[in-house]
């Protein structure tokens, strides 16, 4: 049986998570001059109660025990509403802690007792467990746990162990950015086996971003009138929209297949996850780029959410491991790993 669409149960997960996020974290919260009432950080406990940090964590650490497929589908919804990547970081951190046997820490993360944020390597930290290097911190504060994708897979450590995180102006103003240094820092946990899972979830975020950008562009093209008709009735615009759909669709199908491959422990899982990361990065960056064009001057303003989808595209592309790395990985697989069937 082959079915790359969500089952009715999986669709329920999508609807319930998507519905909650659209109510609690509407995209409009980022409009200039509007300080969002609810931020991920002040709603952290509620997010924990909603199960966001333990969707696919085992029940022994308080997780819901869903598979990586549901986790992928949830991540796609989170990216659509521009939820802070810290929520994904927390889910991932729980996996890393659990994989390292730190069940208490995993349980604390799932329960929302610890805040988690992503780090992103600038000068690589090495393969661990002792880390030296320079990194960015995304949407973090003192006292947070930091999860970073390194050459040795995702690793987890205390932010307070870093040397003087310094705030720096970031492209995405909705996410605090710091630059920090690790000097002989000892990781709490490291999980090379979670590398593909981590990449897949970032690919899912890129997919959600690509779809959200497409949706904004299509909606605008159907309403905005010039020369007496909706601009979507001009092929120059309609075909840009069709291309967005083409890219989003490729990203969706490949991310779905990669999730199944990972859930089933297929030998081509790593290959398919890298392919998903590459195709989804391309879809997210190019869809956000074209959507800004379709919305014209409105798309160029900070009032419209499109700039955030563009900025998040670049962020998730890096968090997914970087397209250059995936290109190199993809070519390392031998020809025998290319078949989906058999």
């Amino acid at each position: 049986m082959i079915d790359l669409r969500p089952s009715p149960d999986q669709q329920q997960v999508i609807d319930s998570i998507g519905g909650y996020l659209r109510r609690a974290f509407p995209v409009e919260r980022f409009q200039p001059g509007k300080a969002p009432e609810t931020t991920e950080r002040n709603a952290w406990r509620e997010l924990a109660q909603q199960g966001f940090f333990g969707l696919a964590a085992p029940e022994e650490v308080g997780g819901a025990g869903f598979s990586v497929i549901e986790e992928m589908l949830a991540q796609r919804e989170m990216a659509r509403t521009l939820l802070s990547p810290s929520v994904l970081a927390a889910g991932l951190a729980a996996h890393v802690a659990h994989a390292a046997g730190l069940n208490d820490l995993a349980a604390a993360i799932v329960a929302g007792e610890r805040h988690v944020a992503f780090g992103s390597e600038i000068d690589p930290l090495g393969a661990g467990p002792v880390l030296d290097g320079i990194l960015h911190l995304i949407d973090s504060q003192a006292g947070d746990l930091i999860v970073v994708m390194t050459a040795g897979g995702p690793i987890l450590f205390e932010r307070d162990e870093l040397t003087e995180p310094a705030p720096i102006a970031g492209m995405d103003e909705t996410l605090a950015l710091h630059r920090a240094e690790a000097r002989s820092l000892r990781a709490l946990a490291q999980a090379p086996e979670l590398r593909s899972r981590s990449t897949l979830l970032c690919a899912a975020a890129l997919l959600g971003t690509a779809e959200a950008a497409r949706d904004l562009a299509v909606k605008h093209a159907g309403i905005r009138e010039q020369f007496g008709k909706p601009i979507g009735a001009f092929q120059a615009v309609a075909h840009h929209c069709a291309d967005m759909e083409l890219r989003a669709r490729a990203a969706r199908a490949q991310t779905a297949f990669a999730a199944i491959a990972l859930a089933d422990g297929r030998t081509d899982a790593a290959f398919n996850v890298s392919a998903a990361a590459l195709v989804s990065s391309d879809a997210a960056i190019r869809n956000a780029t074209m959507a800004i064009r379709v919305l014209g001057a409105m798309g160029f303003t900070a009032e419209c959410a499109l700039h955030l989808y563009l900025k998040r595209s670049h962020l998730y592309e890096l968090l997914a491991g970087g397209s250059r790395v995936h290109c190199a990985d993809l070519l390392r697989h031998d020809g025998a790993s290319i078949r989906a069937a058999d």
Binding site: A233, A238, A250, I260
Partner: protein, 383 residues
């Protein structure tokens, strides 16, 4: 979400793989003329004799009535073994035959269907005209009903393989020019009938893929109309093919193997090494070919038992554009040899020229984008 093959599908795949290995035609497929016709008919005859003719056709018409999954397996195995697809028999197997099954009289079915399965006849499709390409319904080839005959006068163009065909499924205008979708009829034309002149057209890829066909007082029996007179648009445009995405799955698999062959070529050309820029492009092609295959799987099984919806159009467009990227990169990899059109280089340079028809024939890339915008995204009609 799941991806698993049932025990019987795995057995079926083994059976198909063994049969194709033992029976696939030897040598390269000639890409033109009588040699191509003989090659494609020979392959169809082997399939008929081996019990593999009419994969998708219903059993009552001599087909195998394979499920979507089995069709996919068949075509994937063909791709794996580098066995040819239907070639110039694609029109009769995947369009004309299924149309006759759906709309034909018992006599038409008995006359025309068996020779198709047995690999005895080639059909072509007379749809496009000089003034009717993307706007197909604007076609004007006149069919005047006189007693028990229809007299054809006019012209078709871009008719693939007309110069080697026995029959043509032809859309003609038996009624008024407006409204343009009304007044069309779908007829079977014998290509040997007096008054037909066929002029093969040389393509950019050194072959004669298609022809102009001229009709001067060509007499066709009224009994050759399939479906009702003046109802030809419905007859011709219904997605009648019993093919359930197997072909697109086969094409996706072919593209994955093609990328692998290109990677091999790049390794050989570079003495075992691939330069960084080419390597990155090859990696992207690998990822995109994998994505294409995933898209096709999603589409085929999302449409359950019915014909694929507009999504199939998206997959075809993605496939066609990916193919162009693969072909273009192959010329970069060939380097100076890209000027050659024979031998090892010709295996890449001629398809580089030829395969751009994927974005033109059977619905251009631009028409497909219109379809996506209108039918998938719900945007207003833009043409």
């Amino acid at each position: 979400m799941q991806f698993a093959f049932a025990e019987q599908d795995i057995l079926f795949r083994r059976q198909v793989r063994a049969w194709i290995a033992a029976n696939k035609p030897a040598g390269l497929r000639p890409d033109d003329g009588e040699a191509m016709r003989a090659f494609d008919l020979g392959w169809q005859r082997s399939k008929y004799e081996g019990g593999w003719a009419g994969l998708a056709w219903p059993r009552e018409y001599g087909g195998l009535g394979l499920s979507a999954m089995q069709q996919i397996i068949w075509y994937e195995e063909c791709a794996r073994a580098r066995a040819p697809l239907e070639g110039c028999l694609s029109i009769c197997l995947n369009h004309a035959g299924p149309t006759i099954i759906a709309f034909g009289s018992e006599e038409q079915k008995a006359t025309y269907l068996p020779p198709i399965l047995r690999g005895e006849v080639v059909w072509c499709q007379g749809f496009s005209e000089p003034g009717a390409g993307s706007d197909l319904a604007a076609l004007r080839l006149r069919g005047e009903i006189r007693g028990e005959s229809i007299i054809l006068n006019g012209q078709k163009i871009w008719t693939s393989h007309a110069h080697v065909a026995d029959y043509q499924e032809t859309l003609i205008r038996t009624g008024a020019l407006t409204p343009k979708h009304k007044g069309l009829s779908w007829v079977i034309v014998d290509m040997k009938a007096p008054g037909i002149t066929i002029r093969p057209i040389r393509t950019i890829a050194h072959n004669h893929h298609f022809c102009e066909v001229f009709y001067e007082d060509v007499e066709v029996p009224l009994a050759n109309v399939v479906g009702a007179v003046d109802d030809g648009w419905r007859v011709g445009m219904s997605t009648l093919s019993f093919e359930r995405g197997g072909l697109s799955a086969g094409r996706a698999a072919e593209l994955r193997y093609l990328v692998e062959e290109l990677i091999e070529l790049a390794r050989e050309t570079g003495g075992g090494e691939i330069d960084g820029d080419t390597a990155a492009q090859l990696a992207r092609l690998r990822a995109e070919a994998a994505a294409l295959q995933s898209m096709v799987y999603e589409t085929v099984f999302a449409s359950a038992d019915g014909p694929p919806g507009p999504e199939a159009s998206i997959d075809y467009l993605y496939c066609g554009e990916l193919l162009q990227r693969i072909r273009l990169l192959s010329l970069e990899v060939l380097g100076p040899r890209a000027l050659e059109a024979q031998g090892e280089a010709g295996r890449w340079t001629l398809p580089y020229l030829n395969d751009r028809y994927y974005l033109i024939a059977g619905g251009s890339a631009e028409i497909r984008r219109n379809i996506i915008a209108e039918r998938v995204l719900g945007l207003p009609r833009s043409y």
